[in-house]
Symmetry: C2
Subunit: 429 residues, 2 copies
């Protein structure tokens, strides 16, 4: 078995499964005048107008897929993408805005989306495209608040140590569009949200702050958070509640995940099986410090060799999610490259194990690499060129280490993002 070649084929399958355009076309089809999406069928001749809105870094290719499916049926539209991420489209209007720091262009475009949603009525369908970055690209502060004021509140919260759930609860209630409010604006039209998830666990109310998903948090939650962190608002917040789980308005709404880390991992598992490896998915929600996550992957791979468990070789261990790197040095790298470097140290002179880690967006940290890989000779190859594995790990310099070893992975930007995919192939030693 050629582990390096096979790991690369598996990684390619993982990426292909979450290509935004292909992923959308795999989940949504038009056959004989009927739009099939998830468990719902929409008869096109029974629909009055089809509006298209949305926001996110991967939304341009998603919009292109919708054009391919619906062509002239598309009515008014506004889809917000990150600066430099547009595509040439025939019908759907793309607008660019700033990411990760929102700007006025984002506010204007979000207002246009709210306008379109409000215009939609009974018999209409609003298709909403959502992908990573959608929250920052589609900022629409509540009446009386400016974008700057909203940002200053989230900055205060970050400083005070609020977690992502607390941030989102407040953000949703300071927005006119998030936390299910876009779905409420669109009612009584039907809503079909097509979602490329970039969050751990694929919680619909978290992805892009859930503009078409019920919001489990309340104004009471927000009051508690303000009190806990001693936050002050420049003026009174409108007491407008977001729509809650169970609200009948969601009967007309379908949120459909067309791409996610789990779907990418599933495709990797299928490819591994095709190549003769028994796939074992450890988890698609892995967080934590990268180097320790890498060591644990190698320890499991060793158990496969030593004791034929948790799965017998030849095996393909898979995991997804997004780890972190506590920067200690000023080296160049990203979390996927650091995974490969840490794994390489533990794999030194271990025959029959090959590890690969890749960011599905094709951009790992501030580098031109998408990730890296490691085998028994990675350390030897790099050290023959004057590198020292432990020193390079200590200074977070995984890029130069893997470059010397010939173990960088480069794909170029993929225009998708469903976090990271890790692949560890194991044969009997």
């Amino acid at each position: 078995m050629n582990l390096r070649r096979d790991a690369n084929l598996i990684a390619k399958a993982a990426l292909r499964a979450v290509d935004p355009e292909e992923a959308l076309l795999r989940h949504v089809r038009v056959i004989d005048g009927v739009l099939f999406a998830g468990k719902t069928r929409y008869r096109l001749d029974a629909l009055r107008t089809i509006y298209v809105v949305g926001a996110g870094k991967a939304c341009a290719p998603m919009a292109r897929a919708i054009e391919k499916l619906l062509g002239k049926r598309i009515g008014e539209s506004c889809v917000i993408v990150k600066d430099g991420h547009p595509l040439r489209l025939k019908r759907i209007k793309l607008r660019e805005a700033s990411h990760p720091v929102p700007d006025q262009r984002g506010v204007d475009a979000a207002a246009r989306i709210a306008e379109i949603a409000a215009k939609a009525g009974a018999g209409d369908l609003v298709i909403c495209l959502m992908s990573g970055g959608g929250s920052a690209l589609m900022p629409l502060p509540v009446e009386g608040f400016t974008l700057a004021e909203k940002q200053s509140i989230t900055q205060q919260m970050l400083k005070a140590g609020a977690n992502i759930h607390e941030m989102n609860a407040v953000r949703k209630h300071l927005s006119r569009i998030k936390g299910g409010q876009l779905a409420r604006l669109a009612a009584p039209a039907k809503v079909l949200s097509l979602i490329l998830s970039d969050v751990i666990g694929d919680d619909l109310s978290t992805i892009g702050s859930g503009p078409t998903a019920p919001d489990p948090t309340t104004l009471g939650t927000v009051d508690e958070i303000f009190e806990r962190f001693g936050l002050t608002l420049p003026r009174a917040m409108p007491r407008v509640e977001t729509p809650k789980p169970g609200d009948p308005l969601f009967k007309r709404v379908q949120n459909l995940i067309v791409g996610s880390n789990a779907l990418s991992i599933d495709a990797a598992a299928a490819k591994a099986r095709e190549l003769g490896y028994k796939p074992l998915v450890l988890s698609t929600t892995i967080e934590g410090e990268t180097r320790d996550v890498a060591r644990m992957h190698v320890a499991i791979a060793r158990e496969v060799q030593r004791a034929r468990r948790p799965v017998a070789p030849p095996a393909c261990l898979l995991s997804g999610g997004e780890t972190t790197v506590a920067l200690k040095g000023d080296g160049l790298g990203g979390r996927n490259q650091e995974f490969a470097l840490a794994a390489a140290i533990d794999l030194r002179e271990t025959h029959g194990i090959f590890a690969l880690s890749i960011g599905t967006d094709g951009t790992d940290g501030p580098t031109d690499a998408a990730g890296g890989c490691a085998d028994e000779k990675t350390v030897a190859r790099a050290e023959a060129k004057g590198h020292n594995a432990r020193k390079d790990l200590a200074s977070n310099d995984s890029y130069h280490f893997l470059e010397a070893a010939g173990d960088l992975l480069k794909t170029g930007p993929t225009r998708t993002n469903v976090m990271d995919v890790r692949i560890v192939l194991v044969t009997a030693s």
Copy 2:
């Protein structure tokens, strides 16, 4: 299912399997005048004298097991245990020495062991008992070197950043007993080493520096290491090579592991199955930073609930090995308690998952606890008593946190040590 009760039963089964006396008696039996050990049978009436030597923290109960098996057949003996760890025995002579810093009593006792081994001849059997701490308890410097000189060399190496393999290579060649030399001293007698392993991977040449195991390192290895680290010796080292793999002297030697992390985990898996959980052993060689290892365990448990993989619920995830804690605060705790605290944070309000981590020696860090456990309410229970989970984790204060939550595990010292056992029970949420 009562997860807490079941996890405790599984932990008990894991500990029982590596009780030194029981573990030895499970692997060694005397039936009709024949000593059965591993793949070898020793006819007692064909043996001239049976000598018993050894060193390690768990060797007193191991020696008691040998007394039960062989009684009056035992000839001269010397088994070295840590200060405060002796038992009242009838025949086998126990000696106490200092651990972890060796002392002259250890040198004297080791010299006695060498004397006994040298006395053993054709037709004799030398039983050697080895367990954790054996290396420090049985120091016997090569001719012309003092214990202090040997220690100063290992101190220099530690400072220079040598790893455990480099340390062991040098130590073995500065010893008269380690690296297979005890087996050479005992030749032409037969040697039966009964080993309780406390090292990751159970490498025989590593446990107690492998006094009866072939040594893959050579004087050449040592010269290289001295050169690499710029070490100087107070005087020339004797050019005596340790016995190598393939040396015919090892034909008369059997090294038998009677207790290990893997055996403990196997027993836990069997108990879990008996209680209705599908066991999945992730690895018995897990190292790395404890809190990140904990997060990864929880992420895998969540995958079991969410996607019925890598195993369907009700499941018991098991792992062994020994993690580390990079101390950042001045709190009280140990690695197993820190595992429980870190898991508790991720398990907050997650129904149907119970995590437990225990040091098999019954002493986790400088505390009277053996480990800790965590469920969905652990954080709530501790925070109701004024604790803050994240702050306590930041200051490594897992003991007081778990104490408040009622989630400390206490067993008292177990007189065994095969590192740690982690148990994560998962039911459908």
